[in-house]
Symmetry: C2
Subunit: 464 residues, 2 copies
């Protein structure tokens, strides 16, 4: 019987275990989980803290019983300490503090990422007790919830305007707090173009959020029962809660100590079968680099969807299949109040930095459905293509919730997956009914605008 | 200078003209339009009749001025009578009744379709005066509007439960009429599987529509100022308005009289460049058969989206390009009250009837987004794949408006366009945020259910 050991109980680890058991029901699959919360939806944390998901338990994708019924053995509150790739053993510390060596035939490292701690004076000294939080785990979540309820926080400062910062600005506003977001860069949501970020900022401001960009927080101190956040350019705000959410870095310690090689952006190097350089050791999720299908190169994209897919591939290969990870496109969507903002593939500057690409980006704003039917709203599209080959490189979209941006981007992602040209998008047979679309879909109309702008059509001499 | 003549002012004709002018601004493009309403959105008619689009003029995709500014010459209220393909002349009747011969270098026939008239006794004698209507043109629309307003119709019988019948049941209910829908077949919306049609019927009934299936209307008569509709099995209803909407047939008379060949389902035969067998004569839209990309054969799919694409291809080729129509997948979506029902590709029985396919259809019902976030609603998916090759053949989906079914189907359509396998759908990098989706999208979860059910995975012997 094959002994499969998995370190990590989040998306990649669980996916690997479930898939391995599905394909090889006789495999002995054990998960070493650092906390007591396997298979929790980390992406759902903001909605618990907003109050929209009252019971934190409902954030579990599956219950412990579900996982055990699927044949996974869970070692909760166990910390993985050391991999011995020669002896094929993993040393763990159990909840009582005792060291235990677990033998494996195949190991999947799914240790995830850890939140970045920016160099802010005071951050090392202050913590949950004072209302200063990082936000990455369920324990972090409970700590924030405690600050919100026990201390009845009224004012929050969020350091970092990325996905989590934006979702938490929404969440804490919904919960009734006065929220300030501070971002070092000149725009919120730095994962999309400034033109779209400006619309996101307007949405935040429209909901009462104070947005401070181009400002680096340098110090947090705690006096008189409140927090004081200060930064460059005289920035100073008082708060009851400070969230520091400036990104993550791959958690590679366990694997690198055993000799695993580092790849792109400090993440573990894996091939497209999710194999590390260590024999019998696979890795997947936020701790590894990610094959980017448009770049045809490795990148770092810590996303739940990618972790699920990589975990599934690792789980298949761990039980003897030969599955290749198809790659990520960096497809992402975020809801911020009534807006949805989505992207897939490369942005202009990312494409420009890649070898051999000559990107052109065309912005188009179109109605989500026929204007004559009530309720039409704009969809802002930015379509990036390669002027040398005509190939589609990336799409960004922004629109109100009802405009369907979150699903429209998936059509673009499917097109990117297949390396379509921008012009070929017009050939897609997409659905149409006047209350929900147009005969040429928004993506197709944007593609036609790009093609007219970038590739003047030069037909041969007219004639029958 | 090339003289391009186009017969028809709806989707295919207008697309052909606009595209020709875009690529070859010196082409002389003239459209012969049978009525005074070029470029009207026929698909929008129900929303005008419901009252949701008060001004019928807003149903125009483009105004006459827009079209003329784009360089199209419009001969409105001109009827095309005869093509002389040897002399390259088209004879038309002008509004005064005079015959005029127009010379062309290239001709595009976009004569569309005409509504079917089922063999109902009385249908030939009764018309708009009595409140009996077919519904296909703007003139038909005005006549129905007149019946609705002048006669203050309160009870409507709709004969035919296809797309238009369903949309008109919605529209007339919104307008306050008591509506009965009668359908010969055992289900409403015969373009989707009975399991989904049952949910559509429940939606209709829930909004007060009477649905009578398995019943063929045999007679309409007009007495005592009202209409009496009767049919098989003792069906009898009185009404102020009767709509007969049982489908269309291609309008091929003009082209076949000149020697054009008939293809699939009685429609004009064209190749994938949209060329008829007549030299210099292209055809596009509801009058021609359609290359079906999954079947790799010709079918008949009178849809606005297809007409736009075929018209665009005809317009390009008419000015000397060499563009090939990529094919249709039969992608369709319809909104009926708060439901959306969409499909793309083949249904089970369509695939079973095709050579070389061994379809299997798996029904799955999934939440549109993570259940923990408020407002999750079911999406009913029916996924059809070929058990011999694993290839995706078709997808049907049904869900409430907010579930994004109309855009979700487009991902399936894009996958079908690329001949993906069902299993490969799991490799797509689709977007995810808990309020709008799941880490494995609905389509991917359905694909996984199909794959588990149809293709038991058989990995090699487990091992590292």
């Amino acid at each position: 019987m094959t002994r499969l050991l998995i370190v990590g109980g989040s998306d990649a680890g669980i996916s690997a275990g479930l898939r391995a058991r599905e394909l090889a029901p006789d495999v002995e699959a054990t998960l070493v989980v650092a906390d007591a919360y396997p298979n929790y939806s980390i992406c759902g944390i903001p909605y618990h803290l907003s109050g929209e998901v009252p019971d934190w338990r409902s954030l579990a994708h599956r219950s412990q019983t579900d996982l055990e019924t699927a044949g996974l053995e869970l070692l909760l509150c166990h910390t993985a300490r050391q991999i011995d790739p020669v002896a094929q053993k993993l040393t763990v510390t159990d909840p009582a503090g005792a060291e235990v060596a677990l033998a494996y035939d195949t190991l999947v490292v799914a240790t995830g990422a850890t939140p970045l701690r920016p160099p802010i004076a005071g951050l090392d000294r202050l913590g949950a007790t004072e209302g200063v939080h990082l936000l990455h785990t369920m324990d972090d979540t409970f700590a924030v919830a405690d600050t919100l309820t026990r201390r009845t926080a009224e004012r929050a400062v969020i350091v970092g305007a990325g996905y989590i910062g934006m979702e938490m600005a929404d969440a804490l506003t919904v919960r009734g707090l006065a929220v300030t977001v501070v971002e070092t860069l000149p725009q919120v949501l730095p994962t999309v173009d400034p033109e779209l970020a400006a619309l996101v900022e307007a949405e935040l401001v429209g909901h009462g959020v104070e947005v401070v960009t181009d400002t680096t927080v340098t110090e947090i101190h705690h006096t008189g029962g409140e927090l004081h956040v200060s930064g460059a350019g005289g920035f100073a705000r008082s708060a009851d809660l400070v969230l520091v959410v400036v990104g993550v870095r791959p958690d590679t310690t366990l694997a690198t100590a055993a000799g695993a090689t580092i790849g792109a952006r400090g993440a573990l190097a894996v091939d497209r079968r999710m194999r590390t350089n260590l024999p019998g050791v696979y890795a997947a999720g936020d701790c590894v680099h990610t094959y980017h299908r448009v770049l045809d190169a490795d990148a770092y994209l810590p996303l739940g969807t990618t972790a699920h897919k990589q975990g599934r591939v690792a789980g298949e290969n761990a039980v003897g299949a030969e599955r290749t990870f198809a790659g990520s496109l960096g497809t992402q969507v975020v809801k911020i109040f009534d807006l949805t903002i989505a992207r897939t593939g490369l942005r202009h500057h990312e494409a420009a930095a890649a070898a051999g690409l000559a990107p052109r980006t065309v912005p188009v704003t179109l109605d989500d459905h026929k204007a004559y039917f009530p309720g039409a709203q704009p969809v802002h599209v930015r379509i990036t293509g390669d002027t040398r080959t005509g190939r589609l490189l990336g799409v960004q979209m922004l629109g109100a919730l009802a405009t369907g941006v979150a699903k429209r981007i998936d059509t673009a992602a499917t097109a990117l997956y297949h390396h379509m040209s921008v012009e070929e998008l017009s050939d897609l047979d997409l659905s149409y009914t006047p209350p929900l679309g147009s005969p040429w879909d928004v993506l197709q109309a944007a593609a036609q605008a790009w093609a007219s702008d970038s590739h003047p059509a030069t037909p041969k001499a007219p004639g029958p």
